[in-house]
Amino acid sequence: MQDQKDIKKTTYKDYAEKRASPSPLIRDTFLAFIFGGALCVAGQGLTALCLAWTGSEKTAGTLASLALIAIASILTGFGVFDKAARYGGAGMLVPITGFSNAMTSPAIDAKSEGWVLGVGAKIFNVAGPVILYGTLSSAVYGLIYYVLKTIIL
């Protein structure tokens, strides 16, 4: 009896998943490509500008990232970023602009709960996992790198 019911459940789930019209893949992917590509071109342009200004390639790259973070944060504040991301999708989220939006949106949102327990606590709600797993995986890589280096040398 229980088995029969479970089979029915999986059948309905399959049926519902099959009939649900999927996201328009070609359109979404094309838009992600265009938006993401355009943001990278902007990053390249900003890097060139900063290079002319500072003369250091490394600093220029960092400054370009900072500029993109700042722009994305302001656009998030004006409520423009999420509208653009509705079209650009991963093209807006995967570049560093998405990281900035992931920090700014909970910060603005959590204002109503105050500056410490609201903004302070929730600012990492969306971007926290990125920082955690990025740092974690880099530390794991560092450990492996260090061990290999010590053994080999």
């Binding site: 459940k9 789930k13 649900a20 999927p22 996201s23 999420d82 939006n101 700014t104 949106s105 949102d109």
Partner: protein, 340 residues
């Protein structure tokens, strides 16, 4: 065991009021709302307070329309989507009316009508208010992501309605009487995708209709309109397929989630949802149409997806529910009252 109840005494809906935001104003029913705030804020600072205020406005409007004072209500039954029913409690706390807070997700307005009908039919109460609300921004905050977060929605997703509906019910004959009720069972159809709540709720709506037609002796053809709460385009299509297979004819079916927005131009994917969705559609459009005698009988089944944000993260299924309220407009009485 599912029971289909027919009230023993007359219970009628006497007045309704609907409140909405900007997107609702731009929808096909926009002009029928009693009150619109295009900022969606209703004069308050936070989205939660805005939603609470929308309930207060809706109830106050309903009272004003019928020239009643708050002391004329014996109870108010209200619900919303937020944790601990907070929009209802905070919105209605200044009214000093005996209060019951209920939760049935998007099925809340039907749950409220159902409970108050039973209270009135039982004879202990004379006049009860029902209020139900949702707010896009407060729902996003609780169930999904920060409002300004740049996410994409799948085509099966539904847009939470910013709005509230208020109803006043009396234990007396009136223009629109409630002549049937059915409390729904929780139906777990195995759907765990919060982006497809229509599919999670459709089986509950189907079961509710199947049981209702079996137990009440009524047929789909007895109704001018068979109305589901908010299945959206996806859930409505599934409901129709399920009904067709069971030999139930739902030709006169419509869905509140499809009526409140124009899906072609308003970017709402599968349609509207939320405790305010069918409440606002019923209060702004369906019941006024019945008051005016344009629609004779409506079978209203509000559907709800009874999940929490954490349950979804824990990978649990989304249980669906559908409560039925059968409404009948008394055309004779209607003319009589108008003549006065």
């Amino acid at each position: 065991m599912v029971r289909t109840v027919r009230p023993e005494h007359p219970v009628s809906v006497t007045v309704t009021a609907a409140v909405g935001g900007k997107k609702e104003w731009n929808g096909p029913l926009g002009a029928r709302f009693d009150y619109i705030d295009e900022s969606d804020r209703f004069g308050k600072k936070t989205w939660e307070q805005s939603e609470a205020e929308s309930q207060a406005i809706a109830l106050r409007l309903a009272l004003n329309k019928s020239s009643l004072r708050e002391t004329d209500l014996d109870a108010v039954v209200a619900g919303d989507l937020l944790n601990q029913c907070s929009s209802s409690s905070y919105g209605l706390m200044n009214f000093r009316i005996p209060f019951l807070g209920i939760f049935g997700a998007c099925s809340t307005p039907a749950e409220g009508l159902l409970i108050s009908t039973l209270m009135l039919d039982g004879g202990h109460y004379r006049r009860i208010g029902v209020v139900s609300s949702s707010h896009f921004c407060s729902a996003e905050r609780q169930f999904r992501a920060p409002v300004e977060y740049g996410g994409q929605r799948p085509p099966t997703a539904q847009w939470t309605v910013t709005g509230a509906g208020a109803f006043i019910l009396e234990n007396a004959p009136g223009r629109v009487q409630i002549d049937g009720l059915q409390i729904g069972r929780i139906v777990d159809a195995g759907i765990d995708d919060p982006g497809n709540m229509g599919a999670a709720m459709a089986p509950a709506a189907f079961e509710a209709f199947r049981d209702f037609f079996e137990f009440s002796g009524k047929k789909p053809a007895d109704y001018d309109l068979i109305l589901t709460g908010d299945l959206g385009a996806e859930g409505s299509a599934i409901l129709k397929e399920l009904a067709l297979r069971a030999g139930i004819d739902l030709k006169r079916h419509n869905d509140c989630g499809l009526m409140i927005y124009d899906r072609a131009t308003q970017d709402v994917q599968s349609g509207g949802s939320g405790c305010g969705c069918s409440a606002a559609v019923m209060a702004s459009y369906i019941l006024p149409q019945m008051f005016e005698g344009n629609v004779g009988s409506v079978l209203y089944a509000a559907t709800g997806a009874l999940m929490s944000a954490d349950a979804v993260k824990q990978g649990l299924c989304i249980p669906g529910i559908a409560h039925i309220v059968s409404l009948k407009a008394d055309m004779k009485n209607n003319r009589g009252e108008r003549a006065q």
